[in-house]
Structure formats: structure tokens, C-alpha cells
Symmetry: none
DNA sequence: TATGAATGAGACTTCATTCAT
DNA sequence: CATGAATGAAGTCTCATTCAT
């Protein structure tokens, strides 16, 4: 490359006027919509700018490059999600916390399934994963805190387990999104079965409430 | 033009001379290696041809376009896998069949993890998924046949279940590949737990071999 | 930047077919003409390609980037020049060698003054100077060999002297080019005076060998 | 548009309030520093404004376009220099005047070598050279006045000679700047040799003043 | 059939300049 | 007057694909 100084993917400038804040929001939403509609293949900065009703220059005023846009979008989506996810830590038991987490994830993914799926994918590209490391770490920390609860069987390798849980969660929910599912209850139940199974939480008499023993 | 006429993705010709067959194989392997090394980002037809030691023209002789190349590669990888996977149907019980399937999948993915992951992703792109529908259907049929065995709890929606199983399988194994894992046993066990859990197969005394009761 | 791997400025590929050789030559000549006409400001790869009657792609097939094109052009011009310049070493005396060098330089610069001037400037840009280091070194070596001749006063710092000689040579000839001069004899004489003066070669009876006074 | 309407390059307004004067000075100094640091390549109006701590808008308040900024900078640097250079005319002899001029030039160039070099180059761009014609003429007039002194050999073409002197002067001093030299004495001596040589001022017994022969 | 040179649409990005606040 | 957000023309470069040899 001729002029390829590696640039930060962080937003270029913090908007100082409310007009700018609006512009940034508009651009992000436009990006989201393009991503939903045409996927990463069909997304390009000119199109995003056009759809946002601004010049390309404006886009580059706030995002140093295309990837930074994706990162920002990921973060925007992640922010809401993370706040809700943290609520899981208030649950009394590990299992309830996990259910909470699942519910939140399912909810998040089902709100804008196409977008969520597209981002899920992009987030794995090294260039981007790198930028998102912090957010990702925060989310994983939540999981870790759940896993150490008393009612969750101890896991040999926390790292691996965390990765796996996230992967499975995403996999099922993404697949659901792809099929256009919208029944949250069913989806949550399926995810739960997989995750609980993975964790070795055997629920021998799950469905039928037992009558009191003599 | 970059992406103009929609063309068939099927290989342009079935090579009938062994020389041609050899060429196709060479190209495919080159594509595989490029995919492994540089990911989809870094893969391009010129590079693949060069690495294969043929002119780009030759590549286009056998593959009408880039996607066709990916499809063919997917199929090549899928073929071996599918044969082994079919073996699962010979297992006496559903659970054993599932274990068999898992073992085969894990084995497959761990052979060339980077390639497998890259393909997993590409296979979801609509243009490609479409072409791969048949192979995918065949694989899913195997799963279906396993799921109807007596020792597997009946599933409400076969379609969904199948999708989910595949998704979870891939998710965990891909994550493992990404981390560079290579312990097949551990990986199989984790996948099993998730899948069996998902299917509602509770295994109340799984790990510790019980001592004979008096 | 996102994709800015620093690329070599060396030509990308050696043309293997004579058609390609022709293309490269055409592109270079087009670049030369654009440079002459519009200067570096007005030169851009699209224009060069258009003027050469080829697609931009072809340009980038042989030159990884714009700078590489400049470098190649510099080298093309330098090659002829250098061969002639080396001839100076065959001159019997240092002063004659220097005159030879001056004559050659003047000749070179006056052939395509605008081009020569434009290149002179570009060659100082660090990115390019770097690539041209070898050629430059070779030329300076010629000068060095001249400077150590017996009839040239010893110089304190060879490096500096060499630089200065080249700088002065260029400066005067470029200025002449800018004014549209074409009288080689006069130009050579002016340059000689400056260079010989710089070197401390006093030529008390320069032009007409005086006959002994009575 | 990038380069559309040809506009006057003169500063848009003569600042009459000291605040404005201050702003202009700040902008010019910022431009100087950017030019020194990043060269013309890396200089752009937004950056200059930012470095000056003003909005781009303000920059355009005082300079109708980028070139006007360069011109103004050139003039700022030239002004000091010119005043000092005029002092040469007070010298008793032409040769002393020339030495004076050389000393002043060397001094000027060595104060901010990077800036001086960058400007030297820019000043040759036609768009700018045009605006600077007046200043340049004034400087050349000084040289002309020196050249007609009795102790300077008559020159055939005053124009050419003047150009050449300036070119040589610049060439050597720029080269020195590029190498990071800082020994003014040595530099002045080298320049003198070249210029005096060019003018045909032979200094047959330069160093040791010979005693009169019998 | 094989080759690889040629193509050009289109993606990304920059930066001089304008203008509403 | 100052500001800085917005603009978009223009330039650089890539890569899937074609086609003459």
C-alpha cells in the first residue's frame, strides 16, 4: 500500500454540537439498515452515507474508516444489551442468572435479527474483534461471575466454558433469526437445554412439579 | 464488471480427462490453502490461480465464477465428511449414532480448523447456501434418521431441532478451532453435553462408573 | 488506514509477453508526457492510463502504486544518462572528465527539460529517494572517481562535495530549462565555471591559450 | 470543488485590529510548523487551522485559499530576509556585497532549514511564483545592482546570471539543510567558491596574500 | 485448452472549501 | 467575526472476469 498508516478504529472525533450528534446517530442507523438489508457484501460507505442523507465526507468525519463504523455499530448494539445483561448478576441463583442472561440475549437478537447476525459475524473478524475486546471481556466477566455460583457445577476451564456458552447461545439464536422465528419462549427453552446440558446441570424431574413427600 | 450476471454455480464442466481432474484438484487445494492462510478477505481468484500454478483463465475454465469455487471446495470437504457421517446410521442406538456423528464432525473440523471455519461462514451466504442445499439436506436427513430412534426423546419440530444441532455442533467446534484446541476427547465431551442436553437426554449418573450394588 | 501494507515500489511483475513490454513502455511514456505537461500536481494514475490508452488496471498490473511509476520513470531516464556519464571515466584528466560529465548532464536535461525538472524534484521526496538510492550511489561514485584525479584539488569532505556538485549542476540546468534555453555551449560554460570555481580550480587563462609574451 | 475558481491569492483583508493581526500570525506560524514537520504532502488547511487553534473558517477568513496561505508564508519569510539582503548594497565593493548576500542567505536558510526548503520548492509552482513575482523582482534587483559594480566581471546576460546565482545559492544551501549541516562558515565558503567561480572572479592567490614581487 | 494481459466498475478515503449557527 | 459540521469531487487502488494469442 501506498499510504496505509494503520489507523485507530476509534471514532475520529467526539461531536461537539448537537447537530453532529444527530448526524452520527443517523449514520449509524443507516449503517444498521444497510447491514440488515444487504449484508456486509452489499454495504459500502457511499451507500451508507447516501442512505443517511449525508455526504460521504461526513461519515469519514466521525469514523476513520469502514471498520470503525462497524465497531461503533457493534458497540451501540452491545451497550443496551450489556446493561440488561448485567442485571443477571442480581438474580439469587446461578441458574436463574443464566436464564436471565439467555432471556436477554434472545430478546436482543430477536429485536433485529438480521442486524444481530450480521454483526455477530463481523465481530469475529480479527481487525474488529480487537477493538471490541474490552466490551467482550466485560460480557464474559458477567458469565464468569455466574459460573462460580454454588448451584453451577464447577467447570474445569473457565475460559473455554465461557467461550462455548457464548458460541452456543449465538449459534442457536442466530439460526432462529435466520429462520425468522419469533417465539421467544421456545427459543429460550431450547437455548437453556443446550447450555444447562453443557454445564452438566441435570434436571432429572424438570417438568412435573413433584408432590410433597410424605 | 464486478458482479454482473448471475450464473450457475455448478462447475462448468465435469472433467473427463485425468489431466483436467488433476487441475481441478490442484485449484481446489490452492483455494483451500489460501482460505486457511488469509481468510476470505485475502482470497482472490488471481491469487488462487497463481498458487495453483495455473493461469486465471484455467480457473475460469472450470469454475464459472468465484462463488462456484467456494461451492466446489465446500463440497469437496463435505464429501469425505458425509460418507463418514452416514456411518452413524449403522450404530445400534440413537445416542450412539449421535456420538458417532459428533466424533466425525469434531474430527473433520479439527483436521483443518481454519479452513473449516472459513467455509462454515461462507456456507451461510445465501448465494452459496443455495447451491449447497442438496448436500445440506442429505446431512440433515442423517440427523433426522437419528432423531427418530427410540432412545431419543421425540422432538416437536424436526426442522428446527436439526438446524439447532448443527448450529451448536459447529459453534463449539469452530470456537475450539479458533482457540487452537486439539484435544478431540474433551471437545467431543463438551459438544455431547450440549447436544444431549438440548435433546433432553438426561444422563443422571454420567461420569462416575457406579460400583456394583450389593 | 485499514489496508495500508507498505508496498515495494519495485515494478510488480516482469512482463512475460512482448505485448506487456509494449504496455509498460507506453505507460511510462504517457506518464512522462503528463508530467511534462501538467507537472506532478496534474498527474494522476487515471489520466496516465487514459493517455496511454490502457485501463487503470493495466497500470497497476505493472506498478504497485503511483510512486512506483515515478521511480520507474526516473530509472528509465537515469539509465541512458548513466551509461553516457560513465564514459567520463575514460577521459584522461579529471577536468576533462568533469567537462564530459557536465556535457552529458546538460544534454540529458535539455532533451526533455520539463520532464527532467519534474523528476529532479520528485527524486527528492523521501519515499522515492529511497528507491533510487542505488542509482544515485552509482552516479555519485562516478563523481567520486573524478574528484580523486590528480588535477582536481583535494576536497575535504567527499560526500558533501559530491552532493554540492550535483546540486549545482541541477540547479543551473533546471533554471535554464525553465527559461527555455537551448544553447548547450553557453549552459555548459556556465555550469563549468560554477563547478570549477567550487572545486577551487582556478583557470587564470581560461579561454584563449595565450602565446608567450614577448 | 477542489480546485475551481481561480481566485486572487492576496490576503483577503488587511487586518486592522490587532486581534486579527494576531490570528493571522498564529495561522502563519502554524502553517510554517506543519510545513516543517510534515512537508507539503502532509499539510492541509484543516490541520493548520487546528494547530493554530482556530476554526478552518477563520483561516478562510484571512486567506481565500490554500495557495494564498503559502504565498503569505513565503512573504513573511522573505520580508525579514529581504531587509537584511538590502544591506548588501551598502558594502563598498561588489565582492563584499556578494559575500554579504551569501551570508544573509545562508543565515536565513539555516534558521529553519526544513521550512526554507519546503518554501523554495513551493515558490516554483507557477500559481505561486506568479504572486511572488514582485518580491522576487525586488530581490533580483539587489543582485543586479551588485553585479554592475566595478569589481565584478561584466556579465553577458544579466537575467540569466541573476537566475543562476539564485539557483546555485539555493541549491547548495538546500542540500546543506537536507544533510542537517549547521556550520555557516563552511557553507558560506562553498557557496562563495561556486558563485565567484561562476562570475569569473578568479582569485589566483586566494588564501595567502602574496607579497609584491620585486 | 491454457495462458496471462487487459479491463473497468466500484470501493475507499482525503481535503479544499462553504455556510448555517 | 468565529466556528466546525458538512460537502463531494477527485484520486488511489482492487479484483472478478474476459479474450486474444
Amino acid at each position: 500500500m501506498t499510504k496505509t498508516k494503520r489507523q485507530s478504529l476509534k471514532p475520529r472525533k467526539i461531536p461537539q454540537q448537537s447537530r453532529a450528534e444527530q448526524t452520527v446517530a443517523t449514520i449509524l442507523e443507516a449503517a444498521a439498515r444497510v447491514l440488515e438489508t444487504k449484508g456486509m457484501e452489499g454495504m459500502n460507505t457511499n451507500l451508507v452515507a447516501q442512505r443517511a442523507g449525508v455526504g460521504v465526507g461526513s461519515l469519514y468525519q466521525y469514523f476513520p474508516n469502514k471498520d470503525a463504523l462497524i465497531v461503533a455499530l457493534s458497540m451501540r448494539e452491545g451497550a443496551v444489551f450489556f446493561t440488561e445483561a448485567e442485571g443477571a448478576l442480581n438474580e439469587p441463583t446461578g441458574q436463574k442468572a443464566l436464564k436471565h442472561l439467555i432471556a436477554v440475549s434472545v430478546h436482543q437478537q430477536l429485536r433485529r435479527p438480521a442486524l444481530a447476525r450480521a454483526l455477530d459475524f463481523e465481530e469475529n473478524r480479527p481487525a474488529i474483534a480487537n477493538e471490541l475486546a474490552a466490551s467482550k471481556a466485560a460480557f464474559r466477566e458477567v458469565i464468569r461471575q455466574i459460573l462460580v455460583r454454588k448451584d453451577i457445577p464447577p467447570q474445569l476451564n473457565m475460559e473455554t466454558t465461557t467461550d462455548d456458552l457464548v458460541a452456543v447461545l449465538r449459534a442457536i439464536v442466530d439460526a432462529a433469526g435466520e429462520r425468522g422465528e419469533s417465539d421467544r419462549g421456545d427459543l429460550e427453552s431450547r437455548v437453556s437445554r443446550a447450555l444447562f446440558g453443557y454445564l452438566g446441570i441435570v434436571d432429572c424431574q424438570p417438568e412435573k412439579p413433584q408432590r410433597a413427600r410424605k
